[in-house]
């Protein structure tokens, strides 16, 4: 896993494991993201229903 750093600010970032594909399996990773009001939302809470997820951006 690649490690890059900005030594002056003592900050490093660890990247994902290289090789293969972005998806290691078809199981959705346990992702928790904030909603519009800042509350945490777990994608696992949607189990039991089909989900169409669309990523967008204001830019």
């Amino acid at each position: 896993m690649p490690l890059v750093g900005e030594e002056r600010h003592e900050v490093w970032a660890l990247g994902p494991e290289a090789g293969g594909h972005a998806l290691r399996s078809s199981e959705l990773p346990n992702i928790v993201l904030p909603d519009r009001h800042g509350g945490d939302f777990s994608l696992r809470s949607l189990r039991g229903t089909k989900v169409f997820m669309i990523a967008w951006a204001s830019w």
Partner: protein
């Protein structure tokens, strides 16, 4: 559900979410975590997930409809760079009709739909991750952290490094450009801009062909 890949966070995404009056979960991914975990490189990207939490289609271009063509009157009111971008954007190839038909088929038929892929195919169709792409992800994450911490110059350096290592990742480029210039036009911070890069590859190649 929707997820905004937006370093601007809630502040950037909320006006759009509020205006849309969403009734679905509308989340915000300010660190582009989905890009790293799922291999997203452009927006809009769609992913299909079945009732058991299994991905049946990995990230791919997802236009639910064809954007309205801007009128000459509207274009005349915009900054010149924005008008040029919109004109170029009209040449981008998208296939909303086919995508929507496939999506509706899966919604109705679930695992019986031919558009629901097997687990092996989902993985195989997800983005290959080379050493450079993995390192690019780390650079982008570092850049974002530095930017939030107020270290703009260092952040720009790591954004540029992410762009160099992952030149096909439009989310990395567009996010960084937008932070330097909301119109994503030419700046001193970056070697290129949206319009220049789209014209370089050809707008018809901005998204990969839809492989249903």
């Amino acid at each position: 559900m929707t997820v905004a890949l937006d370093a601007g966070g809630i502040e950037a995404a909320a006006p759009w979410i509020d205006r849309a009056k969403t009734t679905h979960p509308a989340l915000i991914d300010s660190t582009h975590l989905l890009g790293e975990l799922l291999g997203m490189v452009n927006v809009p990207s769609g992913i299909w997930i079945d009732m058991h939490g299994v991905i049946v289609r990995p990230p791919e271009p997802a236009f639910p409809w064809r954007p309205r063509q801007p009128s000459d009157e509207l274009l005349a009111q915009l900054p010149a760079i924005a008008a040029e971008q919109l004109r170029e954007a009209q040449k981008i190839r998208i296939e909303p009709e086919r995508y929507l038909a496939a999506l509706r088929d899966w919604v109705a038929r679930g695992s019986e739909s031919p558009y629901a892929l097997s687990p092996d195919e989902v993985v195989a169709r997800s983005r290959p991750r080379s050493e450079d792409l993995a390192r690019g992800a780390a650079c982008f994450e570092l850049a974002e952290y530095l930017r939030r911490a107020g270290h703009e110059r260092q952040a720009t350096h790591w954004f540029r490094e992410a762009h160099r290592l992952d030149p096909e990742n439009w989310t990395y480029r567009r996010q960084a450009w937008s932070l330097a210039d909301p119109l994503q036009g030419p700046t001193e911070d970056f070697e290129s801009d949206w319009l220049t890069d789209v014209r370089k590859i050809g707008p018809e190649n901005y998204y990969p062909p839809l492989a249903l």
